[in-house]
């Protein structure tokens, strides 16, 4: 037993350095997902029929194919075929971000739909253009409502980021596996990796809870309560 404990303690700094890689991947993917997800949601709700259909296909595509297959497709397939030289790390962020944008667009879509319709009409009646009304009236409320969904999305991406190990991204899981194959302490090291993920999930959701409180407008609910 002490042997396995030693192995874990020795590997801990190395694993924790991996959690920095994991976090960069997760934050990068979430930001990319946010930047793409908002326009996707707005387009799907307010766009022309052709745009709506295209976004529907995009969402269907990225929600229907496993992450591992998309990672292989982008990293070994598209990057080579199109002669783009991207590191595994970048590809992991891009693929996780694209998948997340499909899921996040549905979170935002739900949040926008939960706002009373009168909001948009009132903004229009005040002479705002559609674009202006969506940007200054609808989105500020919808994004606040999306924070709980976001916290879910964070824990999903965090866990999915472990799959990036398949491309050799040196995140927590990959490092645990390196050390495990060298020291033959598989079980303790994978459990240690699991614990690090649990802690990161806990800290992240806690942080997003704080964000939710921070961005809340006291005494205001969209339903006018």
């Amino acid at each position: 037993m002490p042997e396995s404990l030693n192995a874990v303690i020795d590997a801990l700094p190395y694993l924790l350095a991996g959690s920095a890689v994991t976090l960069i991947v997760v934050v990068g993917a979430m930001c990319l997902g946010l930047c793409l997800g908002v326009p996707l949601a707005v387009g799907q709700l307010y766009g022309q029929p052709a745009i709506r259909r295209a976004i529907g296909v995009y969402v269907w595509f990225f929600r229907g194919i496993p992450l591992l297959v998309l990672l292989f497709l982008f990293y070994f397939g598209l990057c080579t075929a199109l002669d783009i030289n991207l590191s595994a790390f970048t590809v992991a962020i891009i693929v996780l971000g694209l998948i997340s944008s499909a899921y996040q667009s549905q979170i935002f879509r739900g949040a926008i739909l939960s706002l009373p319709e009168g909001q948009l009409k009132a903004a229009r009646a005040l002479g705002m253009s559609d674009r202006r009304a969506i940007a200054s009236i609808i989105l500020p409320q919808a994004l606040r409502l999306s924070v709980p969904g976001w916290s879910n999305e964070y824990s999903i991406i965090l866990k999915d980021s472990a799959v990036a190990y398949a491309l050799g991204v040196p995140e927590i899981m990959a490092r645990a596996h390196f050390v495990a194959t060298r020291t033959y302490q598989q079980l303790p090291l994978y459990l240690a990796a699991g614990v690090i993920f649990l802690v990161l999930t806990y800290l992240g959701t806690k942080g997003l809870r704080v964000l939710e409180e921070k961005v809340r407008i006291p005494g205001y609910s969209p339903q006018g309560g």
Binding site: W60, F61, R63, G64, I65, P66, L67, L68, V69, L70, F72, L73, F76, G77, L78, T80, A81, S155, L158, K159, D160, S161, A162, V163, Y165, A166, M173, A176, H177, A180, Q185, Q186, L187, P188, Y190, L191, A193, G194, F197, L198, T201, Y202
Partner: protein, 224 residues
């Protein structure tokens, strides 16, 4: 012509083989997962305090740790305790336990949403607690949990690709082998992606139909 020969003699048989392995992973994992989810869900709502706490802890653990890590624990970790599982068993075990934890969340929510009057009525008719849960509460709760659990099953189809990482050669694994031999990564993985899209879309349609089939007229808006 050569292209077509390659597809029909190499790609198609390999992917078909992989597809059956994937299916053999998904179906038992789905069934075990739902069974585990129902047991855990019931324990988390009706169990005694320590049982409830234990079930909650189990769910938190299995939902908080990435599935890849869990699979590695089962396949590469257990030999440490002199327990040897083959890749297929380890994958089914991992998918079932992780899926069960997620299913239990939906089932727990659905159980809590059943009106209290239903239970009081069952008790006043002389039902034992077990009998009440099995014949009155669960049939209604499972119908309500179906959309959530169905989503989880679609996730399972996608996550079954992770079995490749513990050397279980299913659809993705076959694709990887083909692609590494022919260097046609883009084409092969597009085909694999299409296979998964077909599977997830078909599952979505079937689950929607099942929901319609199981709907009890008059019970849809029964809330509170």
């Amino acid at each position: 012509m050569e292209e077509w020969l390659y597809i029909s003699t190499e790609v198609y048989p390999a992917l078909l083989k992989g597809f059956w392995v994937s299916l053999a992973l998904i179906v038992p994992s789905a069934l075990f997962g739902i069974a585990i989810g129902i047991v855990l869900g019931v324990l988390r709502v009706y169990g005694s305090r320590p049982v409830m706490a234990a079930a909650d802890g189990f769910v938190a653990l299995f939902r908080g740790i990435p599935l890849v890590v869990q699979l590695f624990v089962w396949y590469f970790g257990l030999p440490y305790l002199k327990i040897y599982l083959n890749p297929f068993t380890a994958a089914v075990l991992g998918f079932s336990l992780c899926g069960g934890a997620y299913h239990s969340e939906y089932i727990r929510g659905a159980l809590l949403s059943i009106k209290r009057g239903q239970m009081l009525a069952a008790q006043s008719l002389g039902f034992s607690t077990t009998r009440m849960i099995v014949s009155i509460v669960l049939p209604q709760a499972l119908r309500r949990a179906l959309p959530g659990c169905g989503n989880e099953l679609i996730y399972l189809i996608k996550y079954s690709s992770l079995a490749y990482m513990i050397t279980c050669v299913e659809l993705t694994g076959q694709g990887k082998i083909l692609a590494s031999n022919s260097f046609r990564y883009t084409e092969i993985f597009l085909i694999i992606g299409a296979c998964y899209l077909v599977m997830t879309s078909a599952a979505g349609v079937l689950l929607g139909r099942l929901e319609g089939r199981l709907r009890l007229p008059g019970f849809e808006q029964y809330r509170g």
